[in-house]
Symmetry: C2
Subunit: 342 residues, 2 copies
């Protein structure tokens, strides 16, 4: 099966290859009749330009890179789904890359990979989006970048984010409104800047309600189930325990849930548990988790959109902020009576 080329189309349409190229790229300066005629041949033959040749001769690229730290996380799956759907619609392809900082030479490997294959743009997910070396690299290679939920502002890259702080605050306020006074908090992976934002939101809500923050009620975590389980066991051991626990993401909240089950603590009657992210698993738990719905899918789609808008949206590295939704399910409930009396 010999590939169909521009030349074939040109011959069939009785014009030069260059004119066909003009038509498929929607360039100006082609007579309407000619354009229509060429288009007809293109459609009839089902011609598709060879992306590699295109890439080689022009500057653009139809490949977007999706960069991950850990492709196994629920978060990664959501982002990928959103990006993939948008790419499909726009005729782009998604190349997935995994990057970790654990080996020396990781940056060189990245650079080598980038130099062997020019990307039309790159989507950086947390925590990669906050590694200055990576941002430098992409800037140096002149590859457009969109950062998802970055920790700071960088003039060189666009960003798609969410008000993590506000969401965490709102969720905490919901717990307080349910009568909870003694709330435990499990921190996220400190590599992710979102972890700090969520903690800030939690603490702001507590302070605003005039509730004291007891240091022993805040435990470190790393966004994994295992960490949530460990922290949950510590928070729930002994008689003096919080009436609610807010874990900085759903996987950890699930860990807390399991810890509570093991300890025979009823959720939500004796203990309320809240997570963050609205991962698929939040709905698969029992009871289903109260959490903050993050529009991961939409954020990824927006990132693709930004990368594929060529000249139209050149207005200096835009930053998009998408809305969250508080999603209260059955893992949270009114604080037990003993608690409200305190």
């Amino acid at each position: 099966m010999k590939p169909l080329t521009l030349k074939d189309v040109a011959r069939q349409a009785g014009v030069s290859p260059k004119t066909v190229s003009r038509v498929i790229n929607g360039e100006a300066y082609v007579r309407p009749e000619v354009r229509a005629a060429v288009q007809k041949v293109v459609d009839a033959l089902g011609y598709r330009p060879n992306a590699f040749a295109r890439e080689l001769s022009s500057a653009r690229s139809f490949l977007l890179g999706l960069y991950f730290d850990d492709p196994a996380s629920a978060y990664a799956a959501d982002v990928q789904r959103g990006a993939l759907a948008r790419c499909r619609a726009l005729g782009y392809h998604l190349v997935v890359e995994q990057v970790t900082r654990d080996r020396t030479g990781w940056l060189e490997e990245c650079e080598a990979s980038l130099r062997s294959m020019r990307l039309g743009g790159a989507i950086l997910t947390p925590p990669l989006c906050d590694w200055p070396e990576l941002l430098d690299l992409f800037a140096r290679m002149d590859v457009a970048v969109v950062r998802i939920s970055p920790g700071d502002v960088d003039a060189r890259a666009a960003a798609v984010e969410m008000d993590e702080r506000g969401a965490a605050r709102e969720l905490t306020e919901a717990l307080i409104a349910l009568g909870h006074r003694d709330i435990g908090f499990i921190q996220g992976n400190p590599e992710h800047h979102a972890a700090a934002r969520r903690q800030e939101g939690f603490e702001a809500a507590m302070a605003a309600a005039g509730l004291a923050l007891h240091p022993e009620r805040t435990l470190p975590g790393d966004f994994t189930f295992r960490a949530g389980l460990a922290a949950g066991e510590r928070l729930l051991s002994g008689r003096d325990r919080p009436s609610a626990i807010f874990a900085a993401n759903d996987e950890m909240a699930l860990g807390v849930l399991v810890a509570a089950m093991r300890a025979g603590i009823a959720v939500p009657d004796q203990l309320s548990i809240a997570g963050f992210d609205d991962a698929t698993i939040a709905r698969m738990a029992w009871p289903p988790l109260s959490t903050v719905h993050q529009p991961h899918v939409e954020m990824a789609a927006a990132a693709v959109e930004l990368l594929t808008r060529p000249a139209g949206e050149q207005k200096a590295t835009p930053s998009l902020r998408l809305p969250y939704t508080l999603t209260l399910r059955d893992s949270t409930g009114p604080a037990p009576a003993s608690e409200t009396q305190r």
Copy 2:
């Protein structure tokens, strides 16, 4: 930053571009001294051949396609992780594609995408790996294919699989050994051939133990949590219920677990639940799920391996069978006394 080309290296090394090409491709007929000298320049400059140019001028490609039905499933994440790791090591890149059969013209879209971008090989996951139109397409486009867990044998494509039937049988035997006589079964998505294999294994074990199969104990499912929940609720309603339920995958088993929780049925004391796949979530449940550990990561890695072995392993579409591991956790236990007396 102007890209570094073959020509630059050639000039610096004082040879022709073609000779440099020979060196980087490890071709014969280059004097050892020359080879060493060129290699030195390549290393010093950190030269990386442009993959697109390479692809255009030769026949090969460094891009592998990973084809999914549903990229959000836990299964997909595992496969992707395995494939990605292997690709990185081999200097390949992974392009992820999602294909569904819900729109007319899906096949044409696929073909268009393939024609615009030649792939070095494709990995087809279930249920895509059993769509004859797709296999035809890849054969027609002359793209090497590896199928993961296919339902049948196809001379045109290699396969990486697991003994689903044997695993399901072994898991069922384990339940029977625990004293269970009345075991419910929740079928998988009939689009996936593995679903049928697992049911066969279940039924074979039941038959071998001389246990009757009651039609009302086998419910349809589709591998989703929701389906598991629904089936679980049906199986557990009323007084006459099985003492164990075997769901054809972990997500559905999780649904059964939640149904049991809701109904106030203790697991595993009053009900044993088993899944299949050993998805990440199997460990995040409480109690953690007994299941069959499928080597998804290793299977994907093996698939990449098969696709990137060029002439060495041309021995007629090999088929690899990887071993499973029975993983009994806390969601299964001895059958309650009333049951064993039956």
